[in-house]
């Protein structure tokens, strides 16, 4: 089978799987967040933390709960790493340095999973399972909770109440993330992924070198890493490591896992606002951008420009032989556009232009389809902006889903869209101006700049993947990136929840023939255009000096 045909079949299989699953899964998630009943295990959890899951929260209370919960998460994860050497099952690893511990704590709590450490040679079993894996679940559940709160903002009227954060958080974990990742982990194990708490195997290679092979709870970590769009691999090589991602099937399953929640949430949204068509308009915008990215990168990679790759018959440097160009392209676009950041190939090995597409995928704000929850709320914010401009063009005060987009709403949405470019660009600019970026580059010229730009874009948008050459483990980058990740995650949530609060207080405007129809393809097209022009163009100068300079020169 030719690589192109194989690739087409893989993409088709993925699309079919997503098409089949998103509907029941989306409906299920809507039922989870609308349900009035509590499971017994959930009641135990509520009782043990002293939360009342039936108390409705207004937006400040909801936000407070999100921030307090996350702050506790950062602190706990930080301390866990700092005392790692005193914990059991530490595999003899030392305590993590303060700056790296801060970076890692910020990274996992913000659902970024940027790793300035090398998993298998830094983190013991307890830190991996009690710290990192726990955050993989809860940070993902926080993202979905905030998205659900925003959806309730649209769905509810004249209440000001957004639901209960504790209930949303616990249900997300207990009813969605845990069951799906358990099944996925078992399948991964069946496919050959490693799952144990063993010691490091010391072996001597054929050439006589000593090598330590780390085992661990990889299959379970892998499942939630992708399902929760986290991306922090057990091993440094992430999903290109054969223990994490043994073969083509597991590869496809992992891509499916990282796309399944983000692509199902629009259905949940549609269900909750009482119009699945509205959900599909959002889904279509996400899918269009994602698919365009997949096609662009795949074509660019199959062209494999450059003398070396021409001679080798493929641009395979930095890619796994097991996966090839097609599956690597599919994985890389899916991971950068879902804010996941797990990789099955090294993004800095992609051609200049496809590296640019991967960067752009993050720069668009991780909304196509974006991280779990964060993708949906990010896309809804862009929809609010697009509705505002388009709504004026039909001669009415703009309204989305029956809610007026007035001064307050546009102020909050505008603040939201400011954050990601501000954090990414200021972060990159500071690193470059202070010379810290240059000292961490492993390449010169435009490619070197792309590494720095990629790192800060990845941090600000909570992706977590890297242009692999970048030496991230320095006190400066650990601290700066840690701050970028926290700001890039939690500042937007402030505006999302404030917007949700403002929307839910409104009374709905009835739909008439004069209403902008946001469920129509025209609006989807407009939304995509607005995203590309408003967020994409902001980064055009930076992209020109990185991937474009590199890609267009060759």
């Amino acid at each position: 089978m030719s690589p192109v045909l194989a690739d087409v079949l893989q993409v088709s299989a993925l699309l079919v799987a997503l098409a089949l699953v998103h509907r029941p899964f989306g409906d299920y998630m809507a039922a989870v967040y609308c349900s009035r009943k509590h499971l017994r295990v959930e009641r135990w959890i509520y009782r043990s933390v002293g939360a009342n899951p039936d108390a409705e929260m207004r937006w400040p209370a909801y936000l407070r709960a999100v921030l307090v919960f996350s702050a506790v998460g950062v602190l706990f994860l930080y301390l866990l790493q700092r005392v790692q050497d005193k914990l059991p099952l530490s595999l003899g690893f030392k305590a993590i340095t303060p700056d790296q511990a801060f970076n890692t704590a910020a990274s996992f709590v913000s659902n970024t999973n940027w790793q300035s450490y090398s998993g298998e040679s830094a983190m013991g079993h307890v830190t991996q399972t009690m710290g990192l894996a726990v955050q993989n679940f809860v940070s993902a559940a926080v993202g979905i909770a905030v998205a659900v709160a925003l959806v309730r903002g649209f769905a509810r009227s004249r209440t000001g109440e957004l639901g209960n954060f504790w209930a949303d958080l616990v249900r997300g974990i207990v009813r969605i993330l845990v069951p799906v990742s358990v099944i996925a982990a078992i399948v991964l194990v069946a496919l050959g992924a490693v799952q144990n708490f063993g010691d490091i195997h010391h072996i001597t290679t054929l050439t006589g070198d000593k090598q330590g092979i780390s085992p661990g709870a990889m299959a379970s970590q892998e499942a939630i890493k992708d399902l929760g769009t986290n991306g922090g691999g057990y091993a440094n090589a992430n999903s290109s490591h054969p223990f994490e991602n043994p073969n083509g099937f597991s590869n496809l399953l992992e891509i499916f896992l990282l796309l399944v929640i983000p692509f199902s949430l629009p259905r949940t949204f549609g269900k909750m606002v009482g119009s699945v068509k509205q959900g599909y308009a959002i889904l279509a915008a996400m899918a269009m951008i994602w698919f365009a990215g997949v096609v662009a990168v795949t074509i660019l990679e199959f062209q494999h420009p450059g003398t070396a790759s021409q001679a080798a018959g493929g641009a395979m440097e930095g890619k796994e032989q097991r996966f090839g160009e097609g599956a690597s392209s599919l994985f890389s676009v899916s991971t950068t556009m879902t804010s996941t950041g797990s990789v099955n190939s090294f993004h800095d090995s992609f051609s200049g232009l496809s590296g640019g597409v991967l960067l752009l995928g993050m720069m668009l704000g991780e909304i196509a389809p974006g991280g779990v929850g964060s993708g949906l709320y990010g896309m809804l914010i862009m929809a609010v902006i697009a509705v505002f401009i388009a709504g004026l063009m039909v001669g009415r005060t703009p309204e989305y889903l029956g809610k007026k987009i007035g001064t307050r709403e546009i102020k909050l949405a505008a603040c939201y869209i400011l954050i990601s470019p501000a954090v990414a660009l200021i972060g990159t600019a500071l690193a470059m101006a202070l010379g810290k970026g240059q000292s961490s580059m492993t390449n010169v010229g435009a490619h070197g700049f792309s590494e720095v730009l990629y790192a800060y874009t990845s941090g600000a948008n909570n992706n977590g993947s890297a242009f692999a050459g970048f030496a991230a483990n320095t006190p400066y980058h650990n601290t700066a990136l840690g701050l970028c990740m926290l700001l890039g995650r939690f500042l937007p949530m402030v505006f999302v929840l404030a917007l949700a609060g403002s929307l839910t207080e409104q009374k709905p405007v009835p739909v008439t023939a004069g209403t902008l129809r946001t469920e129509k393809p025209l609006f989807t097209g407009l939304l995509v255009g607005a995203i590309l022009i408003i967020t994409g163009l902001t980064f055009f100068p930076a992209l020109a000096l990185g991937p474009l300079a590199e890609g267009l020169t060759s």
Partner: protein, 710 residues
């Protein structure tokens, strides 16, 4: 005096409103000048444009404020390096960008100023004849207080706003309405309000002053058209916030670019970075935003509608329910004869003849319509009163509710009468005549169809008897059905308000094509309807003129008071129609929509423009460091300098090019939201994407012809 429940007499006293029969969509040349943009306004507004460079004024428009800072910065840089022609040219064009923006606003305001001057002339110092007990004293109009009684006689200028409390007079209101025909103002009822600055033409009235000097209607009008009272509307504020956010985003993109450029070995001069920034921030819409708002208000003024706030104009665009009074809005003010129906034993021609004869002395519009119908359908020539010998005319009165004539033809007496059913029947019975049974049935049938029956009876040699029935119909104004169809496509529901009984109302509602009707409407019913619609999230617009309408006008989101109405109504509404033409409500809605569409369209255009500007400037900045980036120079611009300059020049010129559009508003068609979006996205979205590629290329071609460049 109730206004909502007009007495349903067969032939109500004719009270023609001054412009009642003005056709829909009628636009007369009123007091205000023509609305089209005249290029010479650009020149006359220049001084104002320069005055607006004051940063304290400009700071209100964040986008243009940033451009002004950029202009100062580049000028400063040019001064420090006077030999660099590029710096001077960029600085000059940045200043021009700001001035063009100011010019747009100044031109929009200038048109209002001219109107204000006309109004001021009407506000000459008047001397009021104030009543002090029985005596009369002369005081300046500016010293009047609320509650003072003043006398005005023929030739006097009314010294202030008030209500007529005694007398009736004809008043020339042309100073305000531009309409030269005098109007009647009388005490009591809904025609009691008079406006300061208008002139009494005949008779004597006593006016109770209701407004303090300086706050009169004419003062408010001056403030409104001058823009002094202009406050930003909610949508305008929201759009300004979005534009400010985009400005910040692009500011970040440009500021952070320098460290990247230094790394690339292509450090940029501050002049180039400023030029890039100005090109990227949404200057087109930023420059035109306030002009669009002023022009929108101005378009209303040109149609003789005064909006008390910009908010009301915007709300008009959002309206989803229109409450329209039947009489004068949907139907012509008066019923008209539509048919002559004979009772058994007579012919329609006989009825027509008798009806015409009996109506010759009926000067009401209904009476006249009977004469006309008889002439048109049966060729019966209108006979003049003098033509008939021995004719004794019985004119219509409200008491007898009949009109007719007593004739002596060839020696034979003949008496003909037509009028309301009850009156005619008793007239026939008094004369010992018989009332055939089918006349009652016919009258009932006409009532059910929404018409009004008038009986025609005769007394001659054969005795007194009923001949037949005249079918009087409410005549729906021409073009109303299409108008309502358009409104429906725009998503606006129309509700007809009438004092008629439900049967009649239903028939007219069906004929006119309104969506709903409220029959036997009382002011309370109207109010309840408005509140019900609003509870469902709808915005309601209505017109009104009576004191009874005041609460509903205040409750409605858009309340258009008729200028002929009471001061209570004018106070309660948020708009006043000087022509008192209720149909204009529809135009008000359209102007509101057009205002929003113009803003949205130019915003889209402005943002879409950025794509081309990137393709001009980025290769110009960095192709030296990374030659591959020259591939982005898809326009094939001559040199780096000419590329940047072309983008800056295009950015400035497009503002001037769009001033006429901003002032006139984008073309508006009453279609549904989908079609409108498709159309506007095509023109302003795609157009905004493509136009600058062409514009920048053309400017570059011109610039590269200059010696020393390219």
């Amino acid at each position: 005096m109730t206004n909502a429940k007009k007495p349903e007499m067969s032939t109500p006293t004719p009270t023609l409103a001054p412009h009642q029969d003005a056709p829909t969509g009628h636009q007369k040349k009123g007091r205000v000048g023509g609305g089209l943009f005249a290029p010479e306004q650009l020149v006359t507004s220049l001084p104002d444009a320069f005055r607006k460079l004051d940063p304290r004024v400009l700071v209100k428009s964040p986008v243009m404020f940033v451009v002004e800072i950029g202009s100062v910065l580049t000028t400063g840089l040019a001064v420090t390096d006077p030999g660099d022609w590029f710096g001077w040219v960029i600085a000059a064009w940045l200043w021009l960008t700001v001035i063009f923006a100011n010019l747009a606003e100044a031109v929009a305001e200038g048109r209002g100023k001219a109107q204000a001057d006309t109004l001021r002339k009407a506000k000459t110092d008047t001397v009021a004849r104030r009543l002090a007990g029985e005596a009369e004293e002369r005081v300046p109009g500016t010293e009047l207080h609320v509650g003072d009684l003043v006398v005005c006689e023929a030739g006097d200028i009314i010294p202030g706003d008030g209500d007529v409390v005694e007398g009736v007079a004809s008043v020339d209101e042309s100073a305000i309405t531009g309409e030269s025909a005098p109007v009647i103002r009388e005490s009591g009822g809904d025609r009691s309000a008079v406006t300061g600055g208008t002139k009494v033409l005949s008779d004597r009235i006593v006016i109770k002053i209701t407004t303090k000097p300086g706050e009169t209607f004419i003062d408010r009008m001056i403030n409104l058209v001058e823009g002094a009272a202009r406050q930003k509307t909610p949508n305008e504020i929201a759009l300004n916030i979005l534009l400010a956010a985009l400005t910040i985003v692009f500011l970040l993109a440009v500021v952070t670019l320098q460290p990247f450029a230094i790394y690339a070995g292509a450090e940029q001069s501050l002049i180039v970075l400023t030029a890039l920034l100005v090109c990227l921030i949404p200057t087109t819409i930023g420059a035109l935003l306030s002009a669009i708002g002023i022009a929108g208000m101005d378009r209303l003024v040109q149609r003789n509608v005064l909006a008390m706030s910009g908010r009301a104009v915007e709300a008009a665009g959002d309206v989803s329910t229109l409450l329209l009074d039947k009489t004068g809005t949907i139907t012509l003010g008066n019923r008209q004869a539509a048919e002559f129906v004979p009772v058994s034993g007579t012919t329609a021609a006989e009825v027509a003849d008798a009806a015409q004869l009996s109506s010759l002395a009926d000067e009401t519009p209904e009476g006249r319509s009977v004469v006309v119908l008889a002439k048109e359908t049966y060729g019966l020539r209108e006979r003049h009163e003098g033509e008939l010998d021995h004719a004794e005319w019985v004119p219509f009165t409200a008491q007898t509710r009949m009109s007719g004539v007593d004739l002596v033809e060839n020696g034979a007496h003949r008496k003909v009468r037509k009028g309301a059913g009850g009156s005619v029947i008793s007239w026939v019975r008094e004369r010992g005549g018989s009332v055939s049974e089918d006349s009652a049935a016919l009258a009932d049938r006409i009532s059910e169809e929404g018409g009004t029956p008038l009986l025609v009876a005769v007394e001659d040699a054969d005795g007194a008897r009923v001949l037949g029935v005249i079918h009087l119909k409410d005549v729906v104004k021409e073009g109303m059905r299409e108008r309502f169809e358009e409104l429906r496509r725009m998503g606006i529901k129309t509700v007809m308000i009438t004092g008629d009984n439900p049967l009649t109302a239903k028939a007219i509602a069906e004929e006119a094509g309104v969506d709903d009707f409220l029959a036997e409407a009382t002011p309370e019913d109207k109010m309840a309807l408005i509140k019900r619609e609003q509870a469902g999230g709808k915005l309601v617009a209505m017109t009104g003129d009576g004191t009874n309408d005041a609460p509903a006008l205040a409750q409605a989101d858009v309340g258009v008071a008729m200028n002929t109405g009471t001061s209570a109504a004018k106070e309660a509404g948020n708009m006043v129609d000087l022509d008192s033409n209720p149909t204009k409500l529809i135009e008000v809605v359209e102007i509101g929509k057009q205002l929003l569409i113009t803003r949205g369209a130019l915003t889209t255009f402005s943002i879409a423009n950025d794509v081309a500007k990137y393709f001009a400037i980025i290769p110009a900045m960095f192709a030296a460091a990374y030659p591959g980036l020259d591939k982005l120079n898809i326009m094939g611009l001559a040199s780096a300098e000419s590329a940047i300059l072309s983008a800056v020049v295009f950015n400035a010129l497009i503002i001037i090019a769009l001033v006429p559009l901003a002032l006139k508003g984008v073309q508006y068609r009453p279609v549904n939201a989908d079609k409108m979006l498709r159309r506007n996205l095509g023109i302003y979205g795609l157009g905004g994407l493509i136009a600058p590629f062409i514009g920048i290329k053309l400017i570059d071609l011109l610039i590269s012809l200059l010696p020393g460049i390219g």
